[in-house]
Amino acid sequence: MTAPRGIETAAELGLLSCPHCGTVWREAADGEPCARCGTRMHRRKPHSIQRTWAYLIAACIMYLPANLLPVMITKSLLGSQYDTILSGVIYFWVSGAYGLAAIIFIASFLVPLFKLSALILLAVLAQRHSDWRQLERARLYHMLEIIGRWSMLDVFVVSLLAGLVRIQGFAEISAGVGIAAFGAVVVLTMMASLSFDPRLSWDSRNTIPAEEHERNMPNKEQGA
């Protein structure tokens, strides 16, 4: 919370950096293309909060089927088995593989949940221009980016198994609907964290009325 006291932000100084080549322009207007690479420059990512919310809501919706529907269907001589993420965790835990259970639980259940809740927190605080624990929020965002790439673990496991275990009649593993939902959750949370502009965390009510800018700023870019 005590982070940026006395530090002038680029926005306050009227500087704009190109998100692509990193060139900093002075007195550039928002939405102007970078003279070097042509990328449009914005003081803050346009509609960042809005996009983040959209992705977050979609991810939240998909999070339910991801956890409720079976991710892996094991068909073997002993019958077919439908495993959801949590039933797999329970299975490993009950059968004594605590480490494995913990890994799956953390990677496939806690991490997406953490990402979702963290992003929601960040988005809410950014929207309210709160200056509450701004430094921690920045670190939190950084952490999200790091762990985000690990959350596809389950998808990899299932797709690998589905490809490898295909012994006709004896054992067959196929992916369930849940894994698609799970993949969607991962992708959507990544999109959400991508579309979230971490700089918003530093904008507080006391600082520049970035909000006003963002609201009124002409937005010509569609691609992003």
């Binding site: 550039a28 003279a35 088995q81 959507l188 002409p218 937005n219 010509k220």
Partner: protein
Amino acid sequence: MTEQDKTPPLAEPVVVRRRNWLPSLIWFIPIVAALVGIALVARILMERGPEVVLTFKTAEGLEAGKTAVKYKDVQIGTVQTIRLASDRSHVRVQVQLTKEAKSFTAEDTRFWVVRPRLDTSGISGLGTLLSGAYIGADAGSSSETVSEFTGLEAPPIVTRDASGKQFLLRARDVGSLGIGSPVYFRRIKVGQLAAYELDADGRGVTLRVFVNAPYDKFVGANTRFWHASGLDVELNASGVKLRTQSLATIVLGGIAFQAPDDAMGPTAQENTIFALAQDETTAMKQPDGPSQTLLLYFNQSLRGLSPGAVVDFRGVEIGEVKSIGVEFDRLANQFRMPVLIQVYPDRLRRDIGDGPGESRYTQLDRLKFLVDKGLRAQLRTGNLLTGQIYVALDFFPRAAPVKVDITQNPIELPTVPSGLEEIQAQLGDIARKLNKVPFDEIGRDLRKTLGTLNKTLVGAEQLAASLKNDVSPEMTAAMKDVRKTLNNADKTLADDSPLQQDMRQTLQEVTRAANSLRILTDYLERHPESLLRGKPEDKKQ
């Protein structure tokens, strides 16, 4: 580093228009996600069928969330939860049926657990050894639906989709049959025993057999069913015959059916009641018709006679002994042995070959007539070794005439003592007569007689002695004389005796004389005149 100083107002109007709808495009993503989610939920909800609760004695092999409910090996539901009933007497299994399994909530639907099972019909459910138990279902046809079912402990033998017919068999006991025991027709397995239950009065059992289509059409009104269990060994003049339906029936038992002479009659309706005979011979016998109970009184020991013993008529079994007892006859002041027998007059009639005129007489009239003809009951020894006896009905024309009281129930049939009994009685009579003989007097007389005889004999002896002393020397002398005479005679007659030679000479002379005589006669014949005139030569000369 040079920036074009664009004036914001210039760019603004262009952008404002777009700004209204472009960012909202992003909201399609959650909308799509929501749609997908709703679609998934909807699909799951759509696939969900009714939820039912099954109660079983044990949840052995069942697993919540895993165990499937199958019909024709198609999964129609999954076990959701397994709970113990509040009184701990059974388990309650909650099952989520699929949508197409809606009809399985009919009131008469049956559920059972399919486990590996070894029973009389073989091994079943072997597949579940690996895959684990599942719940089998047999859809009912009732229009009433319920949500709670009592599960069967054993799979039903006959499911509703099986085509065929069910028949009821009445038997004295189940024998070695079990649920699933095969039913054979000409040694082909055509069905099985579906169920059996004790009759309400406990006097027999009713078996429910199911005959599969198309064999059910071979069950006719005349069809007979019999126990095909075990071995049927028959020993007769042509040797030993061993009969069995199949190897399995030796161990497991079975039922066979066939119509006598293959005249099965009209095809039997479902649930027709048949009798189950003990063996094929019994089954193929013509029906016995009504039975007649008769009462016999014997005045002899009934040792060796037991209820169930044969009543026969000249070797043909016509009934059996129902009960034996003993009672005191006040009038005659003696014990007598009542024996109740049950005879089947039809068996007798068939053997007699009664014609169509049978309706003229009632059963009782006929019996009376037969008794008048001398029909009596008698106890006879059936087996000398074991002393088993049986009741024989036969005609004894010389038996004392007896009046039959046909108003009595049961009718009393007169009896005659058995052959052995008769001999015994006669022997007794003889002994009694012998007893009456005055052996003492006879003995005394005899002794007297013997004394006299002795004297007589002594006299005879003396006589003989005197004979010996006086007569025999004379006799010897006489004999010697006789021999001398004979010797003389012998000498006289010998070849070389003078008498013989004289005789021979004499005879030769006689022969010669005879020859001369013949010549003379011949001459005379030719010359008869010579008698008068003499020889002619003499004349000539």
